[in-house]
Subunit: 188 residues, 2 copies
């Protein structure tokens, strides 16, 4: 019984490898099959199309990302501490999951980005609900500057993500200095 979902997982793992190494369009199904040690047919047994296959990977990655971001007891912290905690969670996650980060970037750069449809699954995810909630209450509670949510995001999690992708081995002191800078930027 484990075998069944095993293959699904193996396929998704190899897809992540291939896509980050070669990109969507240089990752033919035949190669994915070979690398995964399965036949082409079996991929179509588990996923209806290449498009859906990629969407499945997107949802999977987004879910583990949500879990990572919301880790720690952020509900019972001050806004400042929760902010910094989430920032560091993001930085650490992306640092240790460069492939996932690159995949997410590539996916979002897709012109026919099916983010909307795939995102429906994510709306129901409790971690994302939690994060959205925290940011919203902090914003309404007079702790954050009165800026658009996009701006707040780009000045916080966005920066964490992009630095994590680029940087390799940032020492603790520098990392903390950057978190503080981000907090300075968004807080009153």
């Amino acid at each position: 019984m484990a075998v069944l979902s095993d293959k699904r997982e193996i396929i998704l793992e190899n897809l992540l490898d291939l896509i980050t190494e070669r990109g969507f369009h240089d990752t033919p199904m035949s190669l994915l099959a070979r690398k995964s040690g399965v036949s082409v047919g079996i991929i179509y047994h588990y996923f209806p199309s290449k498009e859906m296959l990629i969407d499945a990977l997107y949802v999977k990655v987004k879910l583990i990302l949500g879990e990572a971001l919301a880790s720690g007891d952020i509900q019972n912290m001050t806004e400042a501490d929760a902010f910094k905690r989430v920032w560091l969670n993001a930085f650490e996650f992306y640092s240790n999951h460069k492939k996932e980060a690159l995949f997410l970037e590539q996916y979002k750069a897709l012109p026919d980005c099916r983010e909307g449809e795939a995102a429906e699954f994510l709306q129901k995810d409790k971690n994302f609900a939690l994060l959205v909630n925290i940011f919203r209450t902090a914003s309404q509670g007079g702790v954050l500057k009165d800026l658009p949510m996009d701006a707040i995001y780009e000045l916080s999690i966005g920066v964490a993500m992009r630095l994590a992708i680029k940087q390799t081995g940032l020492d603790e002191a520098t990392k903390n200095a950057i978190v503080e800078s981000c907090w300075t930027a968004v807080s009153l």
Copy 2:
């Protein structure tokens, strides 16, 4: 004589349209030719391959970007003013050149990103040299926090770019509030 480079330009313009609407891989040479009102052959007359064609567009976009960023008399401003000016230049450029911005994002997301080779042209560009210089002297002059250049970039131009791509119609007050936030984040 103008006709010759005209066609080159027409092809590049249509390429930008198509790529931002449909993506690299959904932009066949045949379609580009039809939309440009030329034959497929002529594209290969002006560009050796699709890859080089896209690189040519990249260089072209990067050059006008550099020009836009460095506009204004930023050499004779205080560091704070120069910073804010460049930030606003970036925001405005990307706001008015969404296609160019999207193309740049897609290009950088390319796994086999030939940024390195294409970038050789850009190293010689005076505008980029100027910008790099300004940031460096500001950093060494004790005006900016002692953070990695990547971090400074992501907290400034990076934020401007991403917000410009997403946002539509940010009022002046909000825009200025965001510049100030960025400056707060990176300055001592």
